[in-house]
């Protein structure tokens, strides 16, 4: 049995590609880059960051015109969520990306937020 060949057949093509994109990095801390963590490109003072991979550059470009949630970055690029998380984490680590994680859940914070959500729904939909 040629184990290597068999292994290869079990891996879908995009999984192999994902490993290439992420350079084999592990998934980042889930709190830091949750589905609804908002991200945007850090100000670059006019110079483009050097030595980014094509995917890092692509995600940074998408994030350069405003804030998006991590889920939206994945949705717009059609890259798997896990891959997007890893690439964004690398960008954040390199100082290229600003991240705004959601507030941790706490009873008082929840109440304020829920009131804000309820009022917002009333304003928007009557």
């Amino acid at each position: 049995m040629r184990a290597g060949g068999e292994d290869f057949e079990f891996e879908p093509a995009d999984l192999v590609r994902a490993y290439v994109i992420t350079k084999g990095r592990e998934l980042p801390d889930e709190q830091q880059l949750s589905l609804i963590t908002l991200v945007t490109a850090a100000p670059q003072d006019g110079r483009r960051p050097a030595r980014l991979t094509p995917e890092e550059q692509r995600l940074l470009d998408i994030c350069s015109a405003g804030y998006l949630s991590v889920a939206e970055v994945a949705g717009h690029t059609r890259l798997p969520l896990g891959v997007v998380r890893i690439v964004l984490a690398a960008l954040a680590e390199g100082g290229h990306l600003l991240t705004r994680p959601p507030v941790p859940r706490a009873r008082n914070a929840d109440k304020d937020l829920l009131e804000e959500v309820l009022n917002g729904l009333h304003r928007k939909f009557g």
Partner: protein
């Protein structure tokens, strides 16, 4: 939207695609859950300010032991699609709605989805009540407060609600509303019912 799946570095997003107050807003999420084809994506699409997006998560799940013999360490991968939409509700808050499939085997995805969620709206088809049992079990397992929204409804609402409460074994305080997921006002009303209930629970 304007996104095309080209190899171009630039993705053609417009200003409306971005979170308008991202620098100061708090992002919150509510799950819209239910069994296959109950109307989750329709519901999200009816009230989302962006065209609903879809993202795929590659899941690793435990597989049959026989796989060990082939050197893949007892794991297989499968892909789950999450559909989601967005609602900018104020200068302070932006709400994301995540449509989540009700399969119990995607534990990793459920942990992701449930973490930090304000609550869940469970869409139910009265003709397929049994299909909702595992969904409700999951939501309860993750400790999320929820309301029931009955989609595809045409009948006597009061009698239907009594029967449904009994069938789903709901707490008396759990809100049950009927809704037409295709209709913006109707979907918004169901969401409002859930948020009001969550607020009661938090007070």
């Amino acid at each position: 939207m304007g996104f095309t799946a080209s190899s171009d570095d630039r993705v053609g997003l417009t200003t409306d695609d971005y979170v308008s107050g991202g620098a100061t807003q708090t992002a919150v999420k509510i799950l819209v859950v239910g069994h296959f084809a109950v109307g989750k994506t329709t519901f999200i699409g009816s009230i989302s300010e962006i065209e609903p997006l879809s993202t795929e998560e590659t899941m690793t799940q435990a597989a049959e032991a026989v796989d060990d013999l082939k050197g893949v360490r007892g794991k297989t991968t499968t892909t789950v699609a999450l559909d989601f939409g967005r609602l900018t509700l104020s200068e302070r808050v932006v709400l994301y709605l995540f449509g989540t499939p009700g399969q119990t085997r995607f534990v990793q995805m459920w942990e992701d989805m449930a973490r930090g969620a304000l609550g869940a709206l469970i869409l139910v088809d009265p003709e397929r009540l049994a299909d909702s049992f595992p969904v409700i079990d999951l939501i309860e397992q993750y400790g999320l407060d929820y309301a029931i929204a009955v989609n595809h409804f045409d009948g006597n609402p009061e009698r239907a609600e009594r029967a449904l409460r009994e069938a789903l074994d709901l707490l008396d305080e759990t809100p049950v509303v009927t809704c037409d997921a295709r209709n913006e006002k109707s979907s918004a009303a169901a969401l409002t019912t859930l948020v009001r209930y969550l607020l009661d629970r938090a007070s």
